[in-house]
Amino acid sequence: MTPDMKVTIAGVEFDNPLLTASGCCGYGEELAQFYPLSKLGGLVTKSITLEPRLGHPPPRTAETASGMLNAIGLANVGIDAFIRDKLPFLAKQKTRIIVNVAGATIDEYVEVSRRLDDIAALDMIELNISCPNVDQGGIQFGSDPKLTEKVVAAVRAVFARPLIVKLSPNVTSIADIASAAETGGADAFTVMNSVIGTAVDIDTRRPRLTNNKGGLTGPAIKPIALAMVDAVHNRSRLPIIGVGGISDWRDAVEFFLCGATAVQIGTALFVEPEAPLKIVRDLKDYLRENKLKSINDLIGRLEKY
């Protein structure tokens, strides 16, 4: 018997629980060169802001032990070009489309979200209140519970469909931020964004990123992400999409056990564009071998000491 891979988040059904993470798959066109996007549970776009953003000057990335630092700087085409040039392609893909929304001010989050509200091609939005790489907005909204509640509530007022809030690990209590987002009207959480870090070129004595610091991603951050998923799962009953350093099915199972209903693949896509598909195949084998009927039988089933 084929195990059931379907999961439901905020009323949206996904064929499988493997999504691609924001900033790791552009607007989908490049990945579609490798496989039909219908094989993914869903795709999360690059962060979209009101105006186009060029991003930071290079170097924007640095390889580190078991991971990478990045400070891209929310480079994106802006909401107008996104709707005009990128959405038509995404609308044709038989997968769930989640648009990641970022902004420097509450008004910007609201305006971008409002523009997306009546677009049938997308299924959900993911609010990026956790980007560590921009001077304004991003993480400032995600590290203060009051601001979190305020921005989420403001977006909630203009966006009627499922609203995911992407949380930052760079906070004192991710559970408090999650609670604030829930009070503001969030339907689900993505846990987590990247971990602030830096790296130094000892010959030039300069940081290896022009932004001086960046966000750490890749296998190096998986233990942190798991602890964050667990913390949010303990606090809130809202569904969690787990992300951070997942490369294979074993990693994914750890996230499901800690309470994630779905997972996102980010940095691993850079090394293996086909990683999500392989993880789905391997997860099915794992469920079969363990005589589990559904992926849902794993979610939150961590046996704690």
């Binding site: 552009g26 290079p58 640095a62 078991s66 891209i72 480079a75 896509l269 850079f270 090394v271």
Partner: protein, 263 residues
């Protein structure tokens, strides 16, 4: 629609060239016949010390044997791991990726400028042009390096019948000086009907770009950048454009028109 895929290949031949230079032949590479000069492959290294794939320009292909040749200089951790591969070892390849050189017109004079390990894509270009019927006498291959030890595969270039001009900074082989010095003279002599192709260190590319612009010679430059993804999604490998904004080296390049990139 043909889909891109990552595939496992074996190292079928390795030649240790001088110093830290190596030639690696991988097979079977199903996309060998799709490779165009200037394109690259993204190679996954078999051990976990480095996380990302590494980008290498295609140096040659044998389509009948589905072989791909890379010529590599050991410069860091990734290339050191690569240099430890033995015949029969397998690794994973993705490619060909990126925009190739635009071929010149049949009667155009072609000036190739290679600096150090920028040499492989120009070797591939010279081979391809000659196979396609370009008169080798109309191709000048300028090859520069710091010293004699930076100049590899001389006989292979000579056999193509092109006009090979070697330039080393210390004069231990060929003419002494910077490779761009004789390039300038050649471009002035050729006048119109000439096309430049260059790959090498940033300083050399800057000088070639400048020569192309001031002497009004069109052409293309192949750039290098650290690339996490190689397929255009991570936006990590960007270079600034003269027209403003950034371009991705991996998929908008690595080959750019002279004057296009703010070097």
């Amino acid at each position: 629609m043909t889909r891109m895929k990552c595939e496992t290949v074996r190292l079928t031949e390795r030649r240790d060239l001088r110093n830290d230079y190596f030639s690696f032949t991988f097979a079977p590479f199903s996309a060998a016949d799709k490779c165009r000069p200037g394109q690259f492959v993204h190679l996954k290294l078999p051990v976990g010390e480095v996380y990302f794939r590494r980008a290498f320009s295609v140096a040659s292909v044998d389509t009948a044997k589905a072989e791909l040749e890379l010529i590599v200089k050991v410069v860091g951790r990734g290339t050191r791991i690569l240099a430890a591969l033995r015949r029969g070892d397998s690794t994973n390849l993705l490619g060909p990726l990126g925009q190739p050189f635009k071929p010149p017109r049949k009667r155009e004079r072609v000036v190739l400028v290679a600096g150090g390990i920028g040499f492989p894509p120009l070797l591939f270009l010279a081979q391809k042009l000659i196979t396609r019927g370009h008169d080798p006498k109309h191709i000048t291959f300028f090859y520069g390096g710091r010293s004699r030890s930076d100049i590899i595969e001389r006989n292979r270039i000579r056999k193509l019948g092109v006009n090979l001009r070697i330039v080393t900074e210390d004069g231990t082989l060929g003419e002494q000086g910077l490779v761009t010095d004789p390039v300038k003279v050649a471009l002035q002599d050729h006048g119109d009907n000439c096309r430049l192709f260059a790959c090498g260190p940033e300083g050399m590319l800057k000088a070639v770009n400048e020569l192309g612009l001031t002497l009004n010679v069109p052409g293309q430059l192949s750039l290098e950048a650290p690339m996490p993804c190689g397929i255009g999604v991570c936006l990590g490998c960007v270079v600034p454009l003269t027209a403003g904004g950034y371009a991705r080296v991996c998929c908008d390049g690595p080959v750019f028109e002279i004057g296009e990139v703010a070097l």
